[in-house]
């Protein structure tokens, strides 16, 4: 335990800093074990889930960046910054970004709508992951073109398992 004390302290300070004063383990259970029905739903084609939020179309895997490490210490609090390298001009801008965790009971985490006044299509938040999963950030232009980024995030086992 003593060998890890420094790390623990650092993370604890961080949790306090972001206001997550509760017990982190309580939050990881939020996603919990999916029921059989939900597991079946999770097996549904991700393309359909994405199309429901952003419209159907081919996603070009460029311009979008998910700037987070491939391994998360805490599944209740996974840092998730997303940016899109694209102009934000009145006739040519990113209108929306949607974020998905494929293996969560409900893959959609959130959707973000922008206007040219946003200046930059970049947001950051913390998300929950039930377990290791592929994550996706898909952006849509005002003309309906889709760009995206996909990455796998491992979730470290900790005191929160079970």
């Amino acid at each position: 335990m003593s060998i890890h004390s420094e790390t623990t302290l650092t993370r604890r300070s961080f949790l306090v800093a972001v206001g997550a004063t509760g017990v982190a383990c309580a939050a990881i259970g939020v996603v919990g074990m999916p029921s059989l029905a939900e597991a079946a739903e999770a097996a549904v084609n991700m393309d359909e889930i994405i199309a429901k939020e952003l419209g159907a179309g081919t996603v070009a895997l460029e311009k979008v960046k998910i700037d987070t490490p491939p391994k998360a210490e805490n599944g209740a609090l996974v840092r998730f910054p997303v940016s899109v390298d694209h102009p934000m001009e009145p006739d040519n801008y990113i209108a929306a970004i949607a974020i998905f965790v494929d293996d969560n009971p409900k893959p959609l985490v959130g959707k973000f709508e922008f206007t040219p006044a946003s200046g930059k299509a970049e947001v950051e938040m913390r998300i929950k992951m039930a377990k290791a999963s592929q994550v996706r950030a898909i952006a849509k232009t005002n003309k309906g073109k889709l760009y995206g980024a996909v990455m796998k995030i491992e979730v470290a086992e900790g005191g929160c398992a079970g």
């Binding site: 997550a20 509760g22 259970g29 939020v30 959609l108 973000f112 006044a117 938040m125 913390r126």
Partner: protein
């Protein structure tokens, strides 16, 4: 649930006209997805999460977030605005039980 609310919005102290300003927000909220079972009772904890966060600058919407219960507890959220005039950036959070919070920060544009 006492640990709820206390919204915070931060902007850079000063920003040059035409530059991007990073706006950081924080609010206390349990963000219960409705999928979690209470470890002691085995009962499902009812859903209680922020479902929308909107930001306005100079009376116009700059970003609107629609969230599910997969956003972490006590949610941090940051975004940008293009600073073209002095004025408030107003952020509104609404949860699935109809509770609403509003907070603003004055953007100083030189």
């Amino acid at each position: 649930m006492a640990d709820i609310g206390e919204p915070k919005v931060r902007a850079p102290e000063k920003v040059k006209k035409g530059e991007l300003a990073l706006i950081k927000t924080l609010i206390k909220h349990p963000m219960e997805s409705g999928l979690r079972k209470d470890a002691a009772t085995g009962e499902t904890v009812p859903a209680h999460y922020i479902e929308s966060v909107t930001a306005e600058y100079g009376g116009a919407m700059v970003v609107k977030a629609s969230w599910t219960g997969a956003v972490s507890k006590n949610p941090f959220f940051s975004f940008y605005v293009k600073a073209d005039k002095p004025g408030p950036v107003t952020v509104t959070w609404k949860d699935n039980k109809g509770q609403e919070w509003k907070e603003k920060v004055e953007l100083k544009v030189e």
